[in-house]
Symmetry: C2
């Protein structure tokens, strides 16, 4: 099944791994994945899926955290299909509220997220996705984390590099 | 100004610190703060506040992270007033969507959150609050983190202790 906003086909089964490869047509930016980098699907159950409570708009916020150092990288939104794709492909999928389409993080920028775990909270209305972050970081500004600005005088990270 | 859902008065000025004290009437549970524990306000600017974009319901998700070890503890929601109270008091304030009232985390349970920093993301529609977490943890179940359940077989944390 071809998925809008993503350069590779999404399988309708969760039973196999996917090696995400760089397109060869030169139309997309970003560095290719490391050679042999394999995304690892997560064998979820429907009972677990039933534990997720979507808001009236069908979405749930997904906090994305660096699996190694714990940095909170970004917050995106998933619907049921984006969550299933994330679990099935081992790559982070979101629903873009502004573009009204699915996106697979890093397909254009190269800043891919390789999923380690997906957690859901006590009342099922938030997700926590731990990842290996490729590229410069998660933020479209070039910052590693989207949370590079702090209230108050002394908490801002270095300004992101131009991109 | 008395604030619904919180046992202490909320000042209309951001210019002083607050020592949050345990009520003495015996009606609330949880351990008292450590002696002399002081919440530290954050001197925010209106320019920073203007960088926050609230959803149509007036809310923005706030990811709460342990300032020491990086554990993502919970996700709550803030409106403009809850964010201002968080910054002004150095304690985490949220808007409860289910109860339709403000709550100051830990006032009943003793599981207070002492704010280190409040960040806002690149497009201003998510907050990241780093805290010292008092008590057993952030979750009403008794778990340290609300994200104690993982998709797949092997990722669940130990079940939370009864409470």
């Amino acid at each position: 099944m071809a998925v809008p906003g993503c350069i590779y086909d999404y399988p309708d089964t969760c039973e196999y791994s996917i090696v995400v490869t760089k397109p060869t047509d030169g139309t997309k930016g970003g560095a290719p994945p490391a050679p042999g980098r394999v995304a690892i699907p997560i064998a979820f159950t429907e009972e677990e899926m039933a534990g997720v409570r979507y808001a009236a708009d069908g979405l749930v916020p997904a906090v994305v955290q660096d699996a190694t150092d714990g940095t909170v990288l970004m917050v995106g939104y998933m619907n049921d299909a984006a969550l299933r794709r994330t679990l099935a492909t081992g790559r982070s999928w979101f629903w873009s509220r502004s573009r009204q389409e699915y996106w697979c993080k890093g397909e254009t920028s190269g800043d891919r997220q390789w999923v380690h775990s997906v957690r859901y909270d006590c009342d099922g209305d938030a997700l926590l996705v731990t990842v290996d972050q490729d590229g410069d970081g998660a933020c479209h500004t070039g910052a590693r984390s989207c949370f590079y600005r702090a209230f108050g005088d002394d908490g801002d990270a270095a300004p992101p590099a131009p991109r």
